[in-house]
Symmetry: D2
Subunit: 464 residues, 4 copies
């Protein structure tokens, strides 16, 4: 599959709803629809009706996985939904979520966003306790830890789980009659609570609340466990880590621009990052253009702060997606043009500042620069609205490995030369934090300092 993409990939979007007066499966569908950008490989919804749990999940986009026929049997008053990204290797139906099991305490379903840093340890403990695991996912580890956890109630077990699980994990947990929502002690990924009529909703991002007409109530605190049943939501645990560590890439790229985190709309934060970037790294030029679509807000901010006109210079094929057709030699040379084409009128004879939100491997930036020059750009200056990514992520973001990361192999000057740029600047970490106006981020991919100890396991280690 060819995707011509140089972005980190999210792991998942999660959703949960407790609403006896609503069609919870249908609302879950539209909630997942709004979270589709967090994962496009599989989708699933599990619904409980007080007795049991019904599930439908499959590979594909939310709108492909669900039809009225598939939605119809999903009766109940409480539901969770999940949409999953994964690299090709592990895109197997076995890994699709929610995971549903029968257990001593009754049926249990979970949807998981994130990655455990001590997943291998916990997995090995399960092996030693005699469990056979059918998937390569941390999420199955969590399910089995809950099914076999200490304590005689789900409340106890979920709190017990949080004593052991390290790393990034937002969870929605469904029992036969209750919805639980869990945010890891570091608060790596966002999770928010909303109100819909007489019911309640939790979702990875506030955009899912807005989409289904739910009212935003608040974000879960890092380490918070909420149980939602007929009595409404109540906090049943709070497991705070020494430090908050919200993933900076939620701000930079992952979350939808209309979502808000910690009171910041992501779009505004990204515009602000562009403004700071303009202050940190000005350059004389004729126009500011974004790498569409994710570079748009920062480009707008850069243009505003610099006074250099905002324009468009590259058109993205809206329909490009995964294709199984291999480019032949000729097309391989064409490469990036399958995804982006230049607007020569806007580029010809101009000094261009091109704004990208991040560079991971650097494999698409070079061809893009070449394309801009071929279209007549006199100078090409790249400004990146995040710091150089020098380290992989171990908390659930599919970032790349050390040897793949261009900023691990080269310094900025080398990258500038490698990409054929007239100048290159990244936003400083300080600048990024200033733009995001929040405290307590994970900046592991920029600094190598992770909020939790990481075990260096390959994510495909247990794939069959």
């Amino acid at each position: 599959m060819y995707d011509y993409d140089d972005k980190p990939h999210h792991e998942c979007g999660i959703f949960g709803i407790y609403a006896p007066d609503e069609d919870v499966a249908r609302l879950s569908f539209f909630g997942l629809y709004a979270l589709q950008h967090r994962g496009q490989e599989s989708a699933g919804i599990a619904v409980a009706d007080g007795r049991g749990i019904n599930l439908h999940k499959d590979m594909g986009l939310v709108a492909q996985v669900f039809t009225e026929d598939k939605l119809r049997p999903l009766h109940g008053h409480v539901a969770i939904g999940h949409t999953r990204y994964s690299t090709t290797g592990s895109s197997k139906l076995l890994n699709a979520q929610p995971f549903v099991v029968e257990s001593a305490l009754g049926p249990l379903a979970i949807g998981h966003n994130g990655n455990l840093t001590n997943g291998t340890t916990l997995r090995n403990e399960l092996f030693q306790r005699g469990f056979g695991l059918s998937s390569s996912s941390d999420s199955e580890v969590i399910v089995q830890m809950l099914a076999g956890g200490p304590g005689q109630s789900w409340d106890e077990r979920i709190n017990a789980l949080m004593q052991r699980a390290e790393g990034a994990y937002c969870l929605t947990i469904l029992t036969r009659d209750t919805l639980y929502a869990v945010r890891d002690p570091w608060g790596v990924h966002p999770l928010c609570l909303g109100r819909i009529g007489n019911g309640w909703v939790v979702a990875s991002e506030s955009c899912a609340l807005a989409t289904i007409g739910a009212e935003f109530v608040r974000e879960l605190q890092p380490g918070e466990v909420i149980a939602i049943d007929g009595d409404g939501p109540r906090t049943i645990g709070l497991h705070t880590a020494p430090q908050r560590a919200l993933c900076l890439f939620e701000y930079i790229y992952f979350a939808r621009p209309d979502s808000h985190i910690d009171g910041n709309t992501l779009h505004s934060a990204r515009v602000e990052a562009g403004r700071v970037l303009a202050q940190e790294s000005p350059v004389e030029a004729d126009i500011v253009i974004p790498v569409p679509d994710s570079g748009v807000p920062a480009a707008i901010g850069y243009a505003q702060a610099s006074g250099i006109p905002y324009s468009e210079g590259l058109i993205k094929n809206r329909y490009i997606g995964r294709t199984f057709i291999q480019p032949d030699d000729r097309l391989r040379k064409v490469g990036i043009q399958l995804k982006f084409n230049p607007l020569s009128d806007n580029l010809r004879g101009k000094r261009i500042i091109i704004i990208d939100d991040s560079i991971v491997r650097g494999n698409t930036s070079g061809p893009m620069v070449k394309m801009l020059r071929a279209a007549g750009a006199k100078e090409v200056h790249m400004r990146v609205s995040s710091p150089p990514i020098r380290h992989p992520c171990y908390l659930g973001v599919d970032m790349a490995t050390y040897p793949e990361l261009i900023a691990h192999r080269m310094d900025v000057a080398q990258i500038c030369e490698h990409l054929g740029l007239d100048s290159l600047a990244y936003l400083s970490l300080d600048g990024l934090q200033q733009a995001t106006r929040a405290q307590g981020f994970c900046n592991g991919c920029f600094t190598g300092n992770y909020p939790v100890e990481v075990s260096f396991v390959d994510k495909h280690a247990f794939e069959r």
Copy 2:
């Protein structure tokens, strides 16, 4: 789905092969092809190559589930295959086999034919030990009992399993380099060993050996555990029960007529059952006709023993299978004619003996008798080459429940009247045992005496 069928249903066919010189996945495919009659709902093959296990399984017939593209990645030298029948409710991909897990001792796959009588107990034990189970099948119970069993080797764990598992279970077990074959202590279902070139094969029925050109070696003994690796097969355990209890329905209906069990070709045993039936329950008539296809051998035997000419009186639509199109009122009246049509020439003015191998619910026999009379039959005498089925099966055959079983609700005279017959006779249990010439059968469905204590659990108890 409409199937117009009144037969018990098998649970599964299993296959295993250890053959470093062969394309084991391809041979598994053709082996399963020969076992298709034992299960048409899902099919799967797992292959090990000394390092890991690769799996493909899906809903559908063997020939639908596998294409060259699906077979290609299944490299290795040892494989197991499975084909599964199940009632509609539980026909979920989650229940398709082989089951594959990663465990403390490495990867593990199993294929299972049968039903544990203490499955609920074992399942509850797993729940108490903290396992979450994702399917409703006993087979997952077995996998987890092996993954978490006592003992530090697979040999030990498999033998330990056999101390606990009660009921019907033939298993093929695949580890990363070894094939195991297990037959339960009662020998409820058949399992045989064959030789192919320098390799070895196990299969539910000898017809699978014949189909792929393997040479029949012997049947596994009840309670026997065989391990097959580079040193060939060796018996690593023998767990005999107080009594053998081979399922009589393997003789009556399940096993393919060209398979042989305990030295008897099934076809011969069925012809013989017809002969005994003729001696036990003669009647004057003009022709003997079978209910096709399963009644053919007994009808041939009845005709031979009685001297009444064998003929055909009903034609079966070879292409009938499951359809999702509902008959309307008119067609519902037509009913059985969608599946069988009468040969009026052969029936007109004749006294007919119609031979069926069994009657379960009795829902198709009445319309069939009416059809024969409408086609001109002067008298219709039914002879059934097995005793009345008065009890459900708890060892893995989907027979029917007490209220559904016509012979539970009525005696033979009542059934005769209910079906509109001139006379009706079943083969006696003695007669059946005489025909099958073997010792040690389970006759629970005829007598209510099961070889093992049964717990009366509904098979859908754990379905979600």
Copy 3:
């Protein structure tokens, strides 16, 4: 695709119904279901409601092509259905039927069973008249000849078509409000009329009438054209050829045994062919066995006439069908065993008479004989209940080409030796005609004398 089959192949089954009080699409479905043996590659139903025609057709078996969702939009009071066989090369959706077009006289749909002997001539005439044809099928030729035919009414045009079309063609034709049924002047293939409530049905075989509960009225005469509307059926044309030429293979193999043609039930005719064969070619032996399933009636007849006991000697895998998995070298040697397995008990030490209904290429008979001997048969005598096939068919049966036909290349003694038989005899043409008790057959494949002049065109000539 591997099919291990040595039979001629039919082209199609057709069905039509005019019944304002019935669900005509549903009845068409079950009618096609009963005609499935005449074609398994594609299926389709077109329904008219007085204004327009709605169509659904696709590749696959009838039960695969239609679901309730696909049936639902097919409203109306008059319908035609079609099920099509074709060799792999031409199995394209473009060739699936019914064909539906809009024309000067309104919408038109046809279902066609047969093959025009002057198809190439007619096709070229259409080309010369400027038509572009999108399929390789004669049926599109017929549609366009009707759409552009002489005459201002469908009645006139259909009669005009019959002046030009030569060869085998049974047609059901649907206009916006009328059903037409056409049988070619030679009556090559059967077509019958039935009554269902206040409506009327036409079908390739009487078994389709029986299946849906319709009452057989009569067969169409060769050359007859019937129009059916609110006034019931009326004959609007009768185009008789100098001679009748019913395809003998309808008697030998194609038609379902419970269908009747010219007053003969096919099953009886086939039993009778076996009886005549026993008289013509007796041989001392211990048992008579059929090649299942098509050899069964003749084997019963042979056994009855010869007094030698009827038995079964080969078991056919009921689930075998097309598979896309290639046998490897080992399996290629096994070959026929994928489809048939011997019943050694019945064969061991015995002198066997094996009855087949026909031999086309002879590619399966040799391995079958070898298998019987390997299973212990002392002598193997083959009797074939039809004459040697020495010529291809040009009237719509996919028989084989001259070089493929074993009886074209060898005389009976050579075939006997080639197949490794102790003796071989075919039924004489006289014997076959005696058994079928009817006049006016096409025996072109036995004699090379075809009822119409044939143009030697390859059926794939126009394939793209």
Copy 4:
């Protein structure tokens, strides 16, 4: 299906390539990929190799319709491709293109973009000549007119076609060895010629040339017919109409912004339209925001000309597309939020100018305005970068019918009130023509003056 969309819809994208040294099917695939925005319902490629034509087409996006397996059999040196939009009703495989027929002059395939204004007349002529037509598309009319046209060569026939066909039609025509490209006499839709290595390409838009690395050569003139074979392209006909009539909506919305027509890059023309709009209809405000994505260039232009800052105010769900899940009552109220969500930070307390490229039915604008106000906008002024659409299109754009067009039912003041706006202004037709800097447009949808006489036929008139 729910699409929440208020745009006109294109009919098709076409592509053709003559390139003996290239993998023409693969290049066609990537060419269609770049033209995907012109049609998302079906895709197809036909390839000729000097002898015959091979075709694959199916419903779906280009990347869904083609896999390597489907591409592999498409050998040859010359190909055409097609991607088609259509409303639900007529989205049938029968209407998918290319159309391929066999004819007196050999095989023929066409891909068609547009709509004939005299299609009904030509269709009726074909009916009168006796043709049966299997689809409702003008394209089949064209195929049959070519197959049966006057003249003994394709050159003659194509030129003859152009004497008769009126309206919008760009064609790629494939014979067994030659590629033809045709642009209608009015030049309604664009069509351009490019060079790739030693071969030649034609495509609806220049972006397809850029995508595959072909060099733009020139546009076809209105009425031009080009034949391309081993001797390169040669003009074989030029059929000019009294006036040019390029579809203005190609400039406003259809063509990809990076494509260029008549020397104008569409993006620049759209930016310019925004500038002119700012001059024509200024308003005091705080920010200018686009309706994404199509409103972006005009919003940029409006911002530049007005000096009011450009910003984003609405986020579009990139993954929204067709879904078969029905919104329930709650969600229906939410409506437009499934597709767009507001950026409250940017809107709160602000006076907003929102730029859309066009309004067709007006069904999404009202909810969007309401959403902007709910997000805190103090004033909402809408500016539309095209004139009011008061008339349907009869030249191949699926625009809407008179009663659906909001600007047919209301004047601008009424629309402004209906949509709840503070002010509303459309670009004048003069302003649009000034922005597009070109001569000879079709402005029928704005003025009701069509370049050719139109017959008022419903596009579904011939649907079955």
